[in-house]
């Protein structure tokens, strides 16, 4: 299989900010390769370094160590105005003394394109983001959502090789945000430009991206498709940050090839659960007595009645709360070690007799639903 061509790449990039005696490491030996025509997202909490990395691509931060490559060429020494990379800024940074059309035309004018071409491109961009009727308005006279679209058009007009988007939707209200997410996805596939998108909203990342890089503390924790990241988180942080996860601490009680038995701390002595591991897991660590953390998604588990006839493996706990959500119901189960385990079941599955609060219930999940995380 031919490896996909790389559009932009960071190799061992470290960025340290120093002010007097204080030093802050924003990026710690970050390496990442983003493919052509990809919708790539940098996802992480604030302060994780995602914006710094984006700015390093744009040319606003210079790496203390390492290199930035565009189509294989080192561009770290190039100032921003010499890089064929454009940015959609978080606060849009539209030029207030210019019209919508003037803003969109700016990059083309700086590139020295002929007037006719500029006009044609501006027209095309205005149509693309549906801002034709506003073309002669000053950017200070349009709404936030419209400003966002102008910022997008302005960055796309010069046909950059890569488009960087720095949390562009964070200022929009919920409904508008959802609309723009679909818009952006459409634009990316239509124009074929590589998009690098920065956000702290994991839902946004999951819905829009071809691939996601989860970042924390200046490092990249995991890179993969939304499905990979969600179903197979590599670390506790990733599992916790993306969606909701239940964590069960426990000890390996038996190993049989690809099936291991784990005794959760909360299960009480003797009760163990069967876990199926995939070949990725480090064989060396699969030993009896090894402590592990299991990560189980709420929707991959079920609540069952506890009774003498039930022989499915389960962990028992106290049903603290039942929360009804319309489309599904959350069951909050308090385990014997005090931790809370949340089970999510769609309301299409009727649970026979309804359960009552403070009932003792059992939690069950399939062997391949749990993911092993190493402490």
């Amino acid at each position: 299989m031919q490896s996909p061509s790389i559009a932009v790449e960071a190799k061992n990039v470290t960025k340290i900010f120093s002010q007097g005696k204080k030093r802050f490491t924003a990026l710690d030996n970050v390496s990442i390769a983003i493919r052509k025509n990809e919708f790539f997202t940098l996802l992480g909490p604030s302060g994780c370094g995602k914006t710094t990395l984006l700015r390093a691509f744009a040319g606003f931060e210079h790496p203390s160590q390492g290199s930035i490559l565009l189509y294989g060429e080192d561009i770290a020494h190039l100032p921003p105005y010499q890089r064929p990379i454009n940015t959609v800024f978080q606060n849009y940074a539209l030029f207030p003394h210019m019209t919508v059309a003037g803003n969109i035309a700016f990059g083309l004018e700086m590139q020295g394109k002929p007037k006719a071409e500029i006009e044609e491109t501006v027209d095309r961009m205005l149509d693309l983001v549906q801002m034709q009727p506003m073309r002669d308005r000053l950017t200070s006279q349009i709404s936030g959502g419209q400003q966002q679209r102008v910022a997008l058009a302005r960055a796309l007009a010069p046909s950059p090789k890569v488009l960087l988007l720095d949390e562009p939707l964070s200022a929009l209200d919920y409904k508008l945000r959802k609309e723009m997410q679909i818009e952006l996805k459409r634009l990316q596939s239509e124009t074929g430009i590589t998009f690098i998108f920065v956000t702290h909203d994991q839902e946004e990342a999951l819905t829009m991206s071809d691939r996601i890089a989860v970042m924390a503390g200046g490092r990249i924790l995991q890179v993969g498709s939304p499905h990979d990241i969600y179903e197979r988180p590599a670390e506790r942080f990733v599992a916790d940050f993306i969606g909701e996860t239940n964590f069960l601490e426990g000890k390996i009680s038996a190993v049989e090839g690809n099936n291991i038995s784990v005794t959760p701390d909360a299960a009480g002595a003797g009760r163990s659960i069967q876990i199926a591991v995939d070949s990725e897991q480090p064989q060396a660590k699969l030993k009896t007595g090894q402590r592990v953390t299991l990560a189980i998604r709420p929707e991959h588990s079920q609540v069952i009645r506890v009774g003498p006839e039930s022989d499915e493996a389960f962990i028992s706990g106290n049903l603290d709360n039942i929360v009804y959500f319309g489309t599904d119901t959350h069951y909050h189960v308090r385990l014997s070690d005090g931790s809370l385990f949340i089970v999510r079941q769609q309301n299409s599955q009727i649970l026979g007799d309804t359960l009552a609060k403070n009932e003792t219930v059992g939690i069950h999940f399939a062997a391949d639903a749990a993911r092993i995380l190493w402490d």
Binding site: K11, H62, P63, Q65, S67, H77, P79
Partner: protein, 313 residues
């Protein structure tokens, strides 16, 4: 600047375009810095040198002949008969008058300026700017014009005396012009807007809900003023006092026009040394002294502002 792309830990040097930034900043500041050095700071240093030289016979100095006489004569003088050193009474009187008048000016300006600033700050929002505008208009009249206007008002044939005579309170005009009081009146008049504006700036930010809370907790108006309003407008008060004190200490035109040559302040004393007094080293020394006092007052202000946590404007 090329960077190594292997995996070993090599630190990148700054790209050329960022290195140029520091140089650019110096080049940009150069015109302003050099003009001020040339025509403001440089001459001060030369004046400092002059204060240590021997005075020339017809003014100026005997270049490169050094002496401490200039500085000594600031506070001391040699008796011409028995050659003993005594205090230069005339100078000390002037020092004292300048200090006294400056402090009085500041306090009077505060007394009138505080209610005025408060009044403007409590007007409804849309009229406030007009009041501020009104208080600054007199300030934009030339210093000479304002001082002359005061002169006209307080002279023996001026409107104050005429009104008092007409009403019958006095029989003959009161001599107001060419007194210390006239100078005080003039300086307050000239520098009042400098007190009002910073006070107003502080008061405008006053959160009147805190004042309401004070009243709610049984405070009287006086107590509210003393313990709630005053502490909160302190930065404005200090700024206003400094803005009035410093120029009044170095006032020249106002005491000249309103003091008439008899009631000299430091500015006039300095001028006379460069004019009829023909004692340039002495004039230089007094100027430097005045400058140091002013710098000291400024330092005090800066310390106070940074201590109270308020940022600079």
């Amino acid at each position: 600047m090329t960077t190594k792309t292997d995996a070993t830990n090599t630190t990148n040097t700054l790209p050329a375009y960022q290195k140029r930034e520091a140089l650019n900043r110096w080049l940009l500041s150069l015109p302003a810095l050099s003009i001020i050095m040339l025509a403001a700071i440089g001459p001060l240093l030369i004046m400092l040198m002059y204060s240590f030289m021997v005075k020339g016979d017809y003014g100026g100095v005997k270049l490169w002949e050094f002496s401490f006489d200039g500085w000594m004569n600031v506070f001391l003088q040699r008796d011409i008969f028995d050659d003993t050193l005594g205090f230069a009474d005339a100078h000390l009187t002037i020092f004292w008058r300048s200090l006294k008048l400056s402090i009085l000016t500041t306090l009077t300006a505060l007394a009138f300026g505080f209610p005025t600033a408060y009044f403007i700050a409590t007007r409804p929002k849309h009229t406030r700017e007009i009041w501020v505008f009104l208080i600054t208009i007199p300030f934009w009249a030339n210093l000479l014009i304002r001082t002359f206007a005061i002169q006209e008002v307080i002279r023996n044939e001026g409107i104050i005396n005429n009104t008092l005579l007409a009403v019958g309170i006095i029989d003959s005009p009161i001599q107001m012009l060419y007194t210390d009081g006239a100078i005080l009146f003039g300086m307050v008049y000239v520098y009042l807007p400098l007190m009002v504006l910073p006070l107003y700036a502080s008061m405008e930010k006053l959160d009147f809900r805190l004042v309401e809370a004070g009243y709610d907790l049984y405070a009287t108006r006086w107590k509210v003023l003393k313990r709630i309003i005053l502490p909160m407008v302190k930065p404005g008060m200090i700024a206003g006092c400094i803005l009035v004190f410093i120029p009044s200490l170095g006032a020249y035109v106002t005491p000249r026009l309103l003091g008439g040559g008899k009631n000299m302040m430091l500015g006039n004393l300095i001028e006379s040394q460069f004019g009829a007094g023909r004692n340039w080293p002495l004039g230089s020394a007094i100027s430097i002294t005045l400058m140091l006092v002013v710098m000291f007052a400024l330092l005090f202000y800066v310390r106070n502002v940074t201590r109270s946590g308020a940022g600079h404007g």
